[in-house]
Point group: C2
Chain length 308, copies 2
């Protein structure tokens, strides 16, 4: 049995998977704020799998954690997890001794990419595009995450696609994230709500010009990211996940329509059939928690042997 | 001994490498036009290694060919090599029996990427950006070409970076190639010359406004491709090759200056140190021929064992 946690800004999702990678138990809880509370959330989350989901904790062999921050390569040290109030935290040291099993840590988008790959059948090349507060991708081929040289792989949100576009929080102009980041859209929309992007879509449907522009920008940004991912790494499929994808088909229809526009203009783009290669992560899929569990398993020498 | 050929639109470069990958012989010849003449060029090229470079042809164990066209996956069938007058040609069938050794074929940019990786020391992750008539990249990690799902990997030339940019030959607007493709630049410059881009640079130095705009566009396009490659696959280094790089440091200085502008605007981009990660392929390096030789070697079961 392997445990994976997706430690989000407000809630933490915990899953246990069996030796075949099938989810055997799943719980959710609120995420604490700051290093100590995050550590406690993880320990409590694993224990809750026993208490609430009937998982035999003595059978757990590894714990993987997906977390919204940078991970120092080759370590379990999280830095700059600003949404969790964590500046620096060595999770292996903090939770390993309490849990008594090896602990592995991965950036949450990369964990979700691995989980989405497994949920999708685990074959070929996939790009997972996370549409949350920011925009970032994870690339998986043959079950392995593409890590790149220095941790910038998948940072497609900061590719500029319009020199006259809006200024991005990173300082450049016209970044994909400046069009499609949930944080930017909420800020520009300027009204509170549980999911501001949904309000933007509703207002756009009702004819609000500002909302129509924001909604169009979102679709343009996502379509640009899909094109970047296919024209660079030639992913079989680009799976969209993250908070904004709660909009479901309303989002997908817009994105497919943008992709259709470039296909109409270009026989080359048409030949890539991008509209058929973009998909939504099924609603409610615990992709990041599943991916985190797989990361824990991948580092176990016995497991690595068993899976060749 | 392995032989590799870089079959270009006007000339063909042929190299022989020894078991350590060191170049033991090198010849150049004119490329014929059409399938029969291309076949003859390859056969003559290999024989010229014996006659002109003193290579023992009996010791040649494989021939690899880099060619400017699409290669059908898993085959030696070249399609749409328009610059060679070849619509379709199975090179293994055409030249294999005459040469008596296995023949492997690869797209020339991908072959050059492998060769550039070997010339660069053969470690880490590299993107090779080819600046010729068109713009395309090859991505190499741990000595392996990233192939992607359906042959579109590295087609960064057709990523649009400006919705109001010039119309690309592919039909989209503002593609990287519409700014940085040698074909497009020559067409817009509209005056004949051996290397129109050099004339553009000279005219820009002399203050010609049209030339200054074309030159600026080239640097913008190349810088955009470098950003795409680092922000997607996080290559350690982006090596620039292809005909336009005959401009050498005049080109590199412009590109580094464009990269510097985005670094100035963005702490995030600054942290990537892109100016330090972009390099020119050394002038005269037979990267594509060397890469083609390595591709021939990689498919030999004995060699694969020897190299682990």
């Amino acid at each position: 049995m392997r445990v994976g946690l997706d430690v989000g800004g407000t809630k933490t999702e915990v899953v246990a998977i069996d030796a075949d990678g099938v989810i055997a138990g799943r719980v959710r809880m609120a995420t604490g704020w700051g290093p100590d509370a995050v550590t406690r959330t993880i320990v409590d989350g694993v224990r809750a799998l026993g208490a609430e989901a009937g998982i035999d904790l003595a059978a757990v062999r590894s714990v993987g954690v997906g977390i919204p921050g940078q991970i120092e390569p080759g370590s379990a040290r999280v830095v700059h997890a600003v949404n969790l109030g964590v500046d620096e935290l060595d999770l292996a040291a903090a939770v390993g001794p309490q849990l008594g099993v090896p602990v592995r840590v991965e950036n949450d988008v990369k964990a979700a990419a691995l989980g989405a790959f497994a949920l999708h059948g685990g074959a070929g090349t996939m790009a997972y595009l996370n549409l949350g507060t920011g925009v970032a991708a994870g690339i998986v081929a043959g079950g392995e995450l593409w890590r790149g040289a220095r941790g910038a792989a998948g940072e497609v949100g900061h590719i500029s696609v319009d020199p006259n576009g809006p200024v991005c929080r990173c300082g450049q102009r016209g970044c994909i994230e400046a069009f499609a980041g949930g944080g930017v859209i909420a800020e520009r929309w300027g009204r509170s709500g549980a999911l501001p992007v949904r309000d933007v879509f509703d207002a756009a449907d009702a004819g609000d010009a500002g909302a129509i522009e924001l909604r169009r920008g979102l679709a343009r940004g996502v379509a640009a990211a899909v094109r970047v991912l296919v024209l660079t790494v030639d992913a079989d499929v680009v799976v969209l996940g993250g908070g904004i994808t709660a909009l479901g088909d309303r989002l997908l229809v817009d994105v497919v329509s943008e992709l259709g526009a470039s296909a109409e203009a270009s026989a080359f783009m048409r030949s890539l059939r991008l509209e058929d290669r973009v998909e939504l992560l099924p609603a409610g899929s615990p992709a990041a928690a599943l991916g985190a569990a797989l990361i824990g398993a991948a580092h176990d020498p016995e497991e690595a042997l068993a899976h060749g």
